[in-house]
C-alpha cells in the first residue's frame, strides 16, 4: 500500500561527493548535486511509491526542504534518511544544543512525502528564501 | 640602548664568589659591564635590597603538546585563576598549567629570567617552539626526548656510538633542542605495547637493549658531542616505593663514564626517585641513602622536584608511570604515545598534608636539598607542574632558609609522615648565598650557560632585586617576609631592561630561544636511505619534520664543536 507520508529518523553527515563539492565551490554544480539530495532506503521509497531520483519534501519541527531522493546503494536502512551536510540539511535539522554548544545534527525525527512537482532550490534561492539575502 | 646602574645593593653572585657585598652593578647594551657613565645611566637605588642574577629554572614543563593537553583537559584548573588583560599584558589563566603569557609574567614577577622546558617529543617540536614564542620576558630552551628513540636504541644496540652521536647532534639541531632528555629509558618503548621495564638491566622488548646500556651510551654520546649540559635523566621506576635502589644502581652505572671529576648526569626531580619501603603502606624517605651517595661522588647533579600541598597536574613522558597514577587515583587520565620516540601521560593530582605518602614526598625533597651538602649539586624545582606550580617557589625558599618555616608546615602533616620525616633532625638553613646557588648559579653552571646565573662582566644583564635586607633581616626567622619578597621582585631586569617593578610587569619584551647547533666533523648523512627510513619510522615526510628557523621568534643558537 502506498503511503502519503513516512515517519523517519534524519541523519546528516559527510559524503565524499560533498567533500569534493565543497572544495569546488559552494555554488558549484558538484556541491549542489552532492548536497541537495537525501539517501533513502529502497523499501521506504517503495512505500511512498516513488522511484529513484524523485523529489521529496522533508519536514521536521524546524522546517521543510525539497530534496532529490536517492536510493541508498549499500544496505537496507529502513526508517533512516541521510542528507549530506550543507544548507539543505540545515533547513530542517535541529538547532537544540542541549546546553553543550552542539546542535542535534543526527537523529532528528522527520517526515518524508513525495513532491515530484516541487523544485529543489539552488543555494542562492535557498539563502534568499531563508535569510532574505 | 640605555645604560643602567644598580647602586648599593647587597650582591649575591656565587659564580664570582660575591657573598652579600655592597656593590654597584653596571649594565650597557644588555650586558654586565665594568662601569657606565653615572650621569647618563638610569640609576636604580638598591640600597638595603638583595641583588642576584636572574633566576634560572633547569626543569619546568611550560610549553608543548603535553603541557597544552593538560591545559585543555583541565578547565576546572583555570576557572579559579583568571588573569585580566591590561594595557601592557595579555589575559590568560592559571593555575597549575598557566597559559603561555601568564607563565612568562609570573616567572618574571619572581625575578626569573631563564627557564628550561624539559620534555619535548621531537615529532611535536614545532608546537613547543610556537608556544615558547608566546612566553614573554624569559629566555628559554627545550630538551628533546631521545632515550627511547628507535635510532638511539638501534645504534647503541649495534655499539655504533659515533653514528649514534651524529644522529643525536642532528636531532638537537633539527628540533632546536638544548640537551639529551632521557625518561624511564626503555620503559617508554615498552609502553608502546603496554609494558614497562622494572630495573636498569631489564631487556626492552623487540630491541635487545637495557636501560643501563641506553643511559651509559647516551652519556658517552653527550661527552663526544661536548654538550654544555649532561644527560638529563628521569630514572626508571620513578614514583614507586623502593625505587631508590634503582636510582643508586643508575648513579653507579654512570660511574663507568669518565667525567674528570665533573658531572656526567643530572637526575631530575630526585624526590620522585628517592622512595624507600616496598609498598605504599610502608613507603618512606630514602633521602639519607641517596644523599650519602651524592655527597661522596662528583658525577651527579640533581634537582629537587619539591611537592607543594595543592591541586596540581602531573605530566610526564613516563606513560607507564602516569598509568600507575591513574590506577591509584581513577582520575581523568591522558596517555599520549608518540611514534618512534616517546610516550606521555597526564593525571591531575591533589597533594594533601593529611596523606602520609604525599607528606613524605614533601619531606623527601627538602631532606635531599638539605642533606646534600654541596648546593652546587642540587637545585630548587617543583618539576612544575608535577610537584606543584612554579609560583610556589617562594614557599620552598622559606622552607630551605628557615627551619621554623618547614617545621610549621611539618606540624600540619600526617602523623605517620611526621614521625618518619628526617626534617626535625636537620638544622641546616640555607644562606642567601646558598639560595642564589640553588635557584640560579648552580642551575646555570649545570646547564653550561656561561652568560647566565652570574653578574660578572660580559654576562647577560638578567638581574633580580629583592626587598630583603640581609643586614637587618634574619631570614630564618622572618620567613614570611622572605616569601613575599621572592614572590614579588622589587625589580626584574631582562637584557638590561626593567621588566618588573614591585612585582608588576612594567615592560613587555620577548626572550630568546636558545638551542645547540652541534657541529660534527662528519655530519649526519641525509641520503635516500635515511629518507626511506624516515618514511618507515614516522608518519610524516622528512622535509616536514625539522623546526625551521622561522619557527623561532628570537633566535639564540649556540655553536658546539663535537669531538666526533
Amino acid at each position: 500500500m502506498v503511503e502519503q507520508k513516512l515517519k523517519v529518523t534524519l541523519l546528516t553527515g559527510r559524503t565524499i561527493e560533498q567533500g569534493v563539492g565543497k572544495e569546488k565551490g559552494k555554488s558549484s554544480k558538484e556541491y549542489f548535486d552532492a548536497c541537495s539530495m537525501c539517501y533513502m532506503d529502497a523499501g521506504d521509497m517503495a512505500k511512498l511509491g516513488i522511484k529513484n531520483n524523485t523529489n521529496v519534501l522533508v519536514t521536521t519541527a524546524n522546517g521543510s526542504v525539497v530534496l532529490k531522493a536517492v536510493k541508498y546503494p549499500r544496505a537496507a536502512t529502513p526508517g533512516l534518511i541521510y542528507i549530506p551536510y550543507g544548507p539543505w540539511a540545515n533547513a530542517v535539522c535541529s538547532h537544540a544544543t542541549t546546553s553543550i554548544g552542539m546542535p542535534s545534527f543526527k537523529g532528528t525525527p522527520a517526515e518524508v512525502e513525495p513532491a515530484p512537482t516541487k523544485k529543489v532550490l539552488t543555494i542562492e534561492e535557498l539563502l534568499k528564501t531563508e535569510f532574505g539575502r | 640602548m640605555t645604560e643602567l646602574l644598580i647602586k648599593n645593593g647587597f650582591v649575591f653572585d656565587p659564580l664570582n664568589k660575591v657573598n652579600g657585598e655592597k656593590m654597584d652593578i653596571a649594565v650597557k647594551n644588555g650586558k654586565i659591564v665594568e662601569k657606565v657613565n653615572e650621569h647618563k645611566a638610569k640609576i636604580i637605588d638598591a640600597a638595603g635590597l638583595t641583588v642576584m642574577p636572574g633566576g634560572v629554572d633547569i626543569h619546568t614543563h611550560i610549553a608543548g603538546g603535553e603541557v597544552n593537553t593538560g591545559r585543555m583537559v583541565r578547565p576546572e584548573d583555570h576557572v579559579k585563576d583568571a588573569v585580566r588583560k591590561t594595557a601592557l599584558t595579555r589575559s590568560g589563566t592559571g593555575y597549575s598549567i598557566p597559559s603561555t603569557f601568564v607563565t612568562g609574567y609570573r616567572y618574571s614577577q619572581m625575578g626569573y629570567t631563564t627557564v628550561m622546558n624539559p620534555s619535548m617529543a621531537p615529532l611535536e617540536a614545532k608546537h613547543t617552539h610556537e608556544e615558547l614564542n608566546d612566553i614573554p620576558l624569559l629566555d628559554k630552551a627545550t630538551y628533546p626526548l631521545i632515550g627511547d628513540w628507535w635510532f638511539v636504541l638501534e645504534y647503541l644496540r649495534k655499539g655504533d656510538l659515533e653514528e649514534c652521536a651524529r644522529h643525536v647532534a642532528w636531532m638537537l639541531q633539527t628540533t632546536k633542542g638544548y640537551a639529551i632528555k632521557i625518561v624511564n629509558p626503555g620503559g617508554l618503548e615498552s609502553w608502546g605495547f603496554g609494558r614497562n621495564v622494572h630495573s636498569i638491566d631489564d631487556q626492552v622488548p623487540n630491541f635487545c637493549i637495557t636501560p643501563r646500556e641506553i643511559m651509559v651510551g647516551l652519556a658517552k654520546v653527550n661527552k663526544m658531542l661536548n654538550l654544555p649540559h649532561t644527560i638529563h635523566l628521569h630514572t626508571n621506576n620513578l614514583g614507586l616505593p623502593g625505587n631508590y635502589t634503582t636510582t643508586l644502581d643508575t648513579m653507579k652505572a654512570l660511574e663507568s663514564v669518565p667525567s674528570d671529576g665533573k658531572p656526567n648526569m643530572h637526575i631530575t626531580h630526585l624526590q620522585f626517585s628517592s622512595f624507600g619501603g616496598d609498598g605504599w603502606g610502608n613507603m618512606r624517605s630514602a633521602a639519607e641513602e641517596i644523599s650519602k651517595y651524592i655527597n661522596t661522588h662528583s658525577h651527579v647533579t640533581a634537582d629537587m622536584g619539591q611537592v607543594i600541598f595543592t591541586d596540581t597536574t602531573t605530566m610526564t613522558a613516563d606513560g607507564p608511570f602516569e598509568y600507575t597514577l591513574y590506577q591509584l587515583s581513577g582520575h581523568k587520565w591522558v596517555n599520549s604515545d608518540v611514534e618512534t620516540e616517546t610516550s606521555g601521560g597526564i593525571i591531575p593530582f591533589h597533594y594533601k598534608k593529611n596523606n602520609a605518602v604525599n607528606a613524605t614526598q614533601w619531606s623527601i625533597a627538602l631532606e635531599l636539598a638539605l642533606l646534600i651538602e654541596d648546593p652546587w649539586k642540587i637545585y630548587m624545582t617543583t618539576d612544575h607542574p608535577n610537584g606543584g606550580p612554579f609560583f610556589a617557589y617562594p614557599k620552598i625558599i622559606a622552607w630551605l632558609t628557615s627551619r621554623k618555616a618547614r617545621m610549621a608546615t611539618l606540624k600540619k602533616c600526617h602523623k605517620k609522615a611526621q614521625k618518619k620525616s628526617l626534617l626535625p633532625s636537620i638544622k641546616r638553613e640555607l644562606s642567601l648565598y646558598e639560595l642564589a646557588i640553588v635557584t640560579r648559579a648552580g642551575q646555570a653552571k649545570a646547564l653550561g650557560l656561561t652568560n647566565k646565573g652570574h653578574l660578572g662582566v660580559g654576562a647577560d644583564a638578567d638581574i633580580a632585586i629583592y626587598d630583603v635586607n640581609p643586614e637587618t633581616t634574619d631570614i630564618a626567622r622572618k620567613y614570611k617576609a622572605v616569601r613575599k619578597a621572592f614572590g614579588n621582585a622589587a625589580y626584574t631586569i631582562k637584557d638590561g631592561r626593567v621588566v618588573v617593578k614591585d612585582g608588576e610587569v612594567v615592560q613587555n619584551v620577548d626572550g630568546r630561544t636558545i638551542w645547540l647547533d652541534v657541529q660534527t666533523a662528519e655530519p649526519c648523512r641525509i641520503d635516500e636511505q635515511m629518507k626511506n627510513k624516515f618514511r618507515e619510522y614516522w608518519s610524516v615526510d622528512y622535509a616536514n619534520y625539522p623546526v625551521y628557523d622561522h619557527y623561532v621568534k628570537v633566535k639564540d643558537p649556540i655553536t658546539i664543536q663535537a669531538s666526533v
Binding site: T9, G19, V20, E23, K26, N62, R74, A75, T77, L80, Y82, P87, N90, S94, H95, T97, T98, I100, G101, M102, S104, F105, K106, G107, I123, L127, F131, R133 | N68, M72, H78, K85, S91, G92, T93, G94, P98, S99, T100, L123, E124, K126, H127, E130, D134, G194, N206, Y323, Y326, K332, V334, N335, S336, V338, E339, I347, Y537, S539, A543, N544
Partner: protein, 490 residues
C-alpha cells in the same frame, strides 16, 4: 614547470604530507598521491567561485570596495560591538589563529571554532575522563585491532586507512591491503580487482563486493590473523564495506551499545538478546576481540558527537578504552575534520587556557560550553556582530542560528564565495593557506605540520594573518580615538 614534493594537504585532519604537485605558470596542474578531495582542491581552488576584491553590502548588494575601506568598516563594527562573535578558524594556519585570539581579546568578544559543531562534545568528554591516545604512526606500527565508530573515513578522511591504519605497513603490524585484495578477488572476480588496482582504492567507486560480515553471518572474520578492522555505524557506509566486521547500531543508541560492551569485557552477563539492535552473541565476539588484541584503537566521529548523548557518548567510549587498558593496550582518537581545527583548539588553549567557546567580554578568558559557545550565543541572539573566518556557518549551521547571525553586521574572511560570504556585510577575499601562503597546521593527533606556499596569490589578495593584523591595528586606532574623544568631551 616545477615539481614540489612533501606538500601538506590543507583539507582534512589527516594532513597527508606526501602530496606532490606540478606547478606550471603559477598554477597547480597535476596532483600526485592525493585523494579525490585533495585533487579537487588543488586543481579547482582557482575556480570562478573565488572572491576577487573586498566587498561591502550597500543597498542590499555586495559591491567592490578598497581594502582600506573594508578594513576600516570591519574595525568599526568590531570596535563598537558589545558582544561580537569571532567564529571559524579551522581552515587557516595557527599563525592566523594566534592573531585571532589577540583580536578577540582586544574587542572583548567570543572566540569559537568549528569544533563546536564537530568534536566540541569530544573535548567535553575528554575534560570529564581524559583520553588515552597516541600519534597516528604508533597505530600504523602497532595496532592489530582498528575500530571506526560513527565515522566513515572512506568519505571524510579518504587516506586514513592507507596511511595510518589497516592498509599501512608498520614495524610490528603489516598492511592488510594484499589480504583485502585477495578477498575481493575471491568474491568479485578479476575484472573488479583490476579496476580497483588501476584506479587506486580511493579515487573511484570502490568495489561493490560485499567484503564484510554483517550481523547474521558467522563472525569468524574476527578470528583471522593480522590486523582486524571493525566498523560500527548506523548505516553501511563505504568504510563498512571494507571492514572484517560491521555492526549496525540503531540511531541514537551508541551509548547503550558501549555500556553493553563495557559489561562484557568485564566478564559480566547481559539479560537481553539484543542491544541497540545488535545480537548479544555478536557483541560477545567483539568483546573477545577487544580484550585479546595486542594493541587496539577506536576512531570516532560525528556519529557519536552529534547524536543523542553527545558528549556522554564520548565519555563512555573513553571509559570503555580506560577499562580495556586493564586487559591490554587500547587507545582512542577523534577523527578531526577540518585540516586545522585541532590547531584552533591548540592555539586557543595555549593562549587562553580553553580550547573553544572562549568569552573575553569580561577582560579575561571565560569558558562555559552551552553559554559561551557560538551556537548558543547565536540561538539566543545575544551577539551584536559576527566575524567569520575560514569556515562556512552559512551552509553548516542550523537555519535559526544563521537567521540570527544575519540580523547583525557580518564580516566574512574567506577565499571562496561560500554561503556565509553570500550573506555577509563586509567580505574579505583571502589567500589559500597551504597553497598561496605558508603556515602551520595540527594533524588530528596534534602533530604540527608545515603548510607550503606553492604558488603566488592573485594580486591584491592577502593572507588571513595579514587581514586580521590590519583589522586589529585599525581597531586599536579607533579605540584610542574614542578614548581621546571621551577625554576631550569631559
Amino acid at each position: 614547470m616545477s615539481i614540489v614534493q612533501s606538500v601538506t594537504c590543507p583539507i582534512c585532519g589527516c594532513l597527508c604530507d606526501d602530496i606532490e604537485l606540478t606547478i606550471e605558470n603559477n598554477e597547480v596542474v597535476k596532483v600526485k598521491n592525493g585523494c579525490a578531495i585533495c585533487e579537487a582542491k588543488f586543481l579547482g581552488y582557482r575556480g570562478h567561485h573565488r572572491i576577487k576584491t573586498p566587498l561591502i553590502r550597500k543597498d542590499g548588494k555586495l559591491v567592490p570596495v578598497s581594502m582600506d575601506e573594508a578594513v576600516h568598516a570591519a574595525a568599526e563594527v568590531l570596535a563598537n560591538a558589545n558582544y561580537p562573535i569571532l567564529y571559524g578558524w579551522s581552515s587557516t594556519s595557527s599563525e592566523a589563529q594566534r592573531i585571532g585570539v589577540e583580536l578577540t581579546e582586544e574587542v572583548g568578544g567570543v572566540m569559537d571554532n568549528t569544533a563546536v559543531v564537530c568534536h566540541g562534545p569530544s573535548i567535553l568528554g575528554v575534560q570529564e575522563v581524559g583520553i588515552p591516545t597516541c600519534t597516528l604512526g604508533q597505530i600504523r606500527h602497532r595496532a592489530d585491532l582498528i575500530i571506526y565508530w560513527g565515522c566513515d573515513p572512506w568519505s571524510a578522511h579518504p587516506r586514513h586507512l592507507e596511511r595510518y591504519t589497516s592498509f599501512a605497513e608498520g614495524r610490528f603490524e603489516k598492511s592488510e591491503w594484499k589480504a583485502y585484495m585477495q578477498k575481493l578477488k575471491a568474491q568479485a572476480g578479476k575484472k573488479k580487482v583490476q579496476s580497483a588496482t588501476r584506479s587506486g582504492l580511493i579515487k573511484t567507486q570502490p568495489p561493490r563486493a560485499s567484503s564484510c560480515t554483517l550481523p547474521g553471518a558467522p563472525p569468524s572474520a574476527l578470528s583471522k590473523r593480522g590486523r582486524k578492522l571493525i566498523v560500527i555505524d548506523v548505516r553501511k557506509s563505504m568504510s563498512a564495506e571494507m571492514a572484517d566486521f560491521f555492526i549496525q547500531v540503531e540511531p541514537n543508541k551508541d551509548y547503550e551499545l558501549m555500556q553493553a560492551i563495557r559489561v562484557l569485557i568485564k566478564d559480566g552477563e547481559l539479560d537481553v538478546d539484543k542491544v541497540a539492535g545488535v545480537p548479544v552473541e555478536y557483541l560477545k565476539e567483539v568483546a573477545d576481540a577487544l580484550v585479546n588484541c595486542e594493541f587496539g584503537v577506536i576512531f570516532f566521529g560525528m556519529g557519536l558527537t552529534q547524536t543523542a548523548g553527545k558528549f556522554r557518548n564520548i565519555e563512555v567510549a573513553i571509559s570503555l578504552v580506560r577499562d580495556l587498558n586493564m586487559r591490554t593496550k587500547f587507545l582512542i582518537m577523534p577523527m578531526r575534520g577540518h585540516f586545522n581545527v585541532t590547531g584552533a583548539n591548540v592555539v586557543s588553549a595555549w593562549q587562553s587556557g580553553y580550547p573553544y567557546g572562549v568569552d573575553f567580554s569580561l577582560g579575561y578568558p571565560r569558558y562555559n560550553p552551552g553559554e559561551t559557545t557560538c551556537m548558543d550565543v547565536l540561538i539566543k541572539d545575544e551577539h551584536d556582530a559576527t566575524l567569520v573566518i575560514a569556515a562556512d556557518p552559512g551552509a553548516n549551521f542550523p537555519k535559526k542560528a544563521v537567521q540570527n547571525m544575519v540580523k547583525h553586521p557580518l564580516i566574512v574572511i574567506d577565499p571562496h564565495m561560500n554561503a556565509t560570504a553570500m550573506l555577509g556585510d563586509i567580505v574579505f577575499p583571502a589567500a589559500f593557506v597551504g597553497i598561496e601562503v605558508e603556515g602551520t597546521a595540527y594533524r588530528m593527533d596534534h602533530v604540527p605540520l608545515p603548510l607550503k606556499k606553492v604558488v603566488e596569490p592573485p594580486e591584491g589578495i592577502y593572507s588571513d594573518e595579514e587581514i586580521l593584523r590590519r583589522i586589529l591595528e585599525e581597531v586599536r586606532i579607533i579605540k584610542k580615538q574614542k578614548a581621546q574623544q571621551k577625554v576631550e568631551a569631559t
